[in-house]
């Protein structure tokens, strides 16, 4: 692997200064499960790698704070999948974290890293979109919060400013009872990038949120406020028509080896219907039928 300098700042201000000094020559290291692969294959050539794991202000804890759950930027997929609060209130995120890579990857890979890589196929991102997650970042301009939907641009590109790094992810607690689920389509069960990765959340007030990835340059969120998707009395035809309207921006690449655009679009519809059924069922078992 090409040589680089390794920095392990002890505090956030040092990390921000390092990023400011080195600009695009610096790369942040959290779990390393994407970064090290990309350095080794030469697709990125950082002169400096800045390890966030020594930063005192950043941890991997998951905390209840003021009506939301705060996930530290060092939290790994294994911890997120196992957290009882996430499994209860943000079940799609726990399920998505549990299908990333395999055990060894989940023990290192962080949620923050999954977000910042901005892969169109990132499994945790659709769940973060349906839950309206906020990403807490610190940079030369201080602290700010960015809605996950406003952070993602396209593969590998986010709206993070130079010198900014993610310190935590905030998940609002559901204001009304909610059923949610993550589903995906892969060629094999473990260690595969998704051909379709999708999260669905149905609220007791009839609002349905669906976010899907791997069908375009970035994962997309769509919201149904008509109630057609959430209503158990809706016909399949009505639901399919509504989904067709909502998925108008799905634009899978024709160049991907993993699956053809036709297949992905067909599976998007199938998975969305399946996820809707599961999310409605989970909402129902919470004693608050829509």
């Amino acid at each position: 692997m090409r040589a680089f300098a390794y920095e392990r700042p002890a505090h956030l201000d040092e990390a921000v200064a390092l990023l400011a000094d080195h600009g695009p020559e610096a790369r942040l290291l959290a779990g390393g499960t994407d970064l090290i692969i990309r350095i080794r294959d030469g697709s990125i050539r950082p002169r400096t790698v800045v390890d966030v794991k020594g930063i005192a202000e950043i941890d991997g804890e998951i905390r209840d704070l003021d009506g939301h759950l705060t996930i530290g930027a060092r939290a790994v997929m294994t911890a997120i999948a196992a957290d009882e609060r996430i499994r209860r209130d943000h079940q799609a995120l726990a399920e998505a974290a549990l299908v990333v890579g395999a055990v060894q990857i989940r023990n290192r890979a962080t949620l923050a890293g999954n977000i910042c890589n901005a892969s169109p196929a990132a499994d945790t991102v659709p769940a973060l979109l349906v839950y309206g997650a906020q990403v807490v970042v610190v940079g030369p301009g201080g602290i700010r919060r960015i809605a996950i939907d406003d952070l993602l641009v396209r593969s590998g590109v986010t709206t993070l400013a130079p010198g900014e790094l993610v310190t935590a992810i905030e998940l609002p607690l559901p204001p009304t009872p909610r059923g949610s689920v993550h589903v995906r389509r892969t060629r094999r069960r473990s260690h595969d990038l998704a051909s379709v990765t999708l999260a669905c959340a149905v609220d007791a007030d009839g609002t349905t949120r669906i976010a899907y990835g791997s069908l375009g340059p970035r994962p997309l969120l769509v919201v149904d406020e008509t109630g057609v998707l959430a209503d158990p009395e809706s016909s399949d035809a009505a639901r399919e028509a509504r989904l067709a309207d909502l998925f108008i921006d799905a634009a899978p690449s024709p160049r991907s080896m993993r699956a053809s655009p036709e297949y992905r679009l067909a599976m998007l519809r199938v998975l969305a219907l399946r996820a809707l059924g599961m999310a409605r069922e989970r909402l129902g078992t919470r004693g608050a039928p829509a």
Partner: protein, 183 residues
């Protein structure tokens, strides 16, 4: 650019060490090339095959995707740390008994992943074994025997699979690696 060297303190298979490692060298390179522990295998180098699996503070990781410098202060268990002297680790014995090793190249990683699984789940279901070993590929496709071996080791009640971490600084430098792993 010139390669940067750093001093790290690690405990490897119970033995405390202070070593200089290059910043861009992976833990896999440190184990194999600097420490001569070649039981951990280099294979895909993209975190898909699991041949390089080791335990870092009892947690299984792909050592090809972790820098050596990141291991500073950690306790590492490699496949060499499983046996106690001449006595095989129960998982190793079970792999022998079921004929789980064919070419053998993936087996160190399979053993380490299995040890991590049994430490957490002493009596796994078949599905739990499959999930626990999903990050370890066997190109001989000997999966049935490998799963059988893990189930056999679990049935024999040998879940105390992994050496407990020894804090860095504890003087175990005089102890040979092979004599300090599992109790």
């Amino acid at each position: 650019m010139t390669a940067e060297s750093r001093s790290i303190e690690v405990t490897v298979n119970g033995r405390g060490r202070t070593i200089d490692v290059l910043a861009h060298h992976t833990l896999l390179e440190v184990l194999r090339d600097d420490l001569g522990l070649t039981g951990t295998k280099e294979c895909c180098l993209v975190g898909e095959c699991g041949a390089c699996t080791v335990l870092v503070d009892d947690v299984s990781v792909d050592s090809c995707l972790m820098l050596g410098v990141e291991a500073d202060g950690a306790s590492i268990t490699t496949v060499e740390g499983l046996a106690v002297g001449e006595r095989l680790h129960p998982l190793q014995q079970a792999f022998l008994d079921t004929g789980a090793a064919q070419c053998g190249f993936c087996i160190p990683g399979q053993l380490v992943s299995a040890a991590a699984l049994l430490a957490e789940t002493p009596h796994p279901t078949r599905a739990e074994i499959e999930e626990g070993l999903a990050g370890n590929l066997c190109r001989c496709a000997g999966y049935e025997q490998i799963i059988e071996a893990v189930a056999l080791a679990a049935n024999r009640g040998t879940s105390a699979a992994v050496a407990r971490p020894v804090p860095v600084g504890v003087d175990v430098a005089s102890t040979p690696d092979a004599n300090v792993a599992p109790q």
